[in-house]
Symmetry: C2
Subunit: 235 residues, 2 copies
Amino acid sequence: MSDTAREELARRIAGEITLSDDPGATLRKWRTDFDISQTELAAQLDVSSSVVSDYESGRRESPGIGVIRRMVNALLAIDETRGGGHIRQFARVLSAGFESDIVHDLREYPTAVPLDRFYDAIDATEITRGKRDYVNGHTVINSIQAITRLSSEEFYRLYGQSTDRALMFTDVTRGESPLVAMRVVTPTPNAVVLHGLGEDDLWEHAPALANIDGFSLAVTNCDIETALNDLRTLS
Amino acid sequence: MSDTAREELARRIAGEITLSDDPGATLRKWRTDFDISQTELAAQLDVSSSVVSDYESGRRESPGIGVIRRMVNALLAIDETRGGGHIRQFARVLSAGFESDIVHDLREYPTAVPLDRFYDAIDATEITRGKRDYVNGHTVINSIQAITRLSSEEFYRLYGQSTDRALMFTDVTRGESPLVAMRVVTPTPNAVVLHGLGEDDLWEHAPALANIDGFSLAVTNCDIETALNDLRTLS
DNA sequence: CGGCTACTTCGGCAATTGTCGAATGGAGGG
DNA sequence: CCCTCCATTCGACAATTGCCGAAGTAGCCG
């Protein structure tokens, strides 16, 4: 495990907590993202579990950086004892040259995965079928951040090593922006998944645009972290 | 000025201070990097200057995150009143897809700059002349970080928009690693500057390798921040 | 030499933190 | 219904912080 990815993730988390308007809520966000209970975190820190709860609930307005440092290091230490999945995920995003608030995950699969299995794993409903029925990887993207911040050159880097992949856009309301963006990038991915809405909420022109560009379009409301965990079992 | 570059720089600084073994020294590092006096920072914070000095000197072992947040925001606020040079510099590095501890600066010049003027601006001594006598931009790189962390694909991204540029490697002892790295990248830049050593310290094979690959080689011991400021006047 | 600026050190003290541990509540499983 | 686990709230108190302001040092400039 690269120490530098761990260090950068630590710095990222610590910076976010320190600057947050609600540091306790931000601390809780990262703890739950790592799938760690307060009890487990407290054990790692060698404190009572009420200490963790007090901090997350905002009892102390300005905790010392010593406390924050120990909390962040404890999160990463627990992740490491579990195999380092979160550190790896963050490292993949960094090495692709993105910030983790734009790209949430970027992964190449060792073998082609049939789209049906992929959609099962993420509990997605396919709206339109595309020309290809498999994916070799995925990229999970915050759609608002991506559209407002990425240059057109950077947009292509979302493809990682292969365009034979699924792009999953999160924080989607109707799907208009991602589908319009897909109109202007060439080539298109094998699949586009819109996260955060159901069939009924989808922009009415989305299926037609997907058909024109030849990619599979799906929607899902699954829990992202759970889905990413399930995707690990595909390979 | 992009708010997101400011936010990311803030997060980066706050994370680094929070996780540091010597938070006071890290705080001082960033204050001096921004070329801000304690007196000026204290005025921005509306506290006595001894408050800033106490924190930087480590009087308090675990300052509260409220203090760190106000210090970081004050640094950026002062930078903004001066035109945002540091935020811009950080934004350039980020938008090139690098971490700022690998790439310190990356800039395209509006016009070609003669190498003589470039070397004057950074107080460098040319060791061998190359095939081209101008640069269209520069990239300032931490050589150890770059060599240990960048993939070969990422190495090419150091070129920004043009290979007609100078690559300046910092934290150099003899220059062996950067020169060896230059042997395997194609094309080579117009100039390579090794920062941190004089002619006498240079690896003996460096001039020959530069000649083979046809780039200008120079050494300098200038102050990086001063040099970057001077380079701004070239355009 | 005097004045000014930047910075350091330190005493002091009100305010806040770091943490324990008790009490309590909710959810899930046997 | 009981047990276990996770989480919250809060009183208590020793320890530390946040900051002022005084005194001092060093360097620069006229």
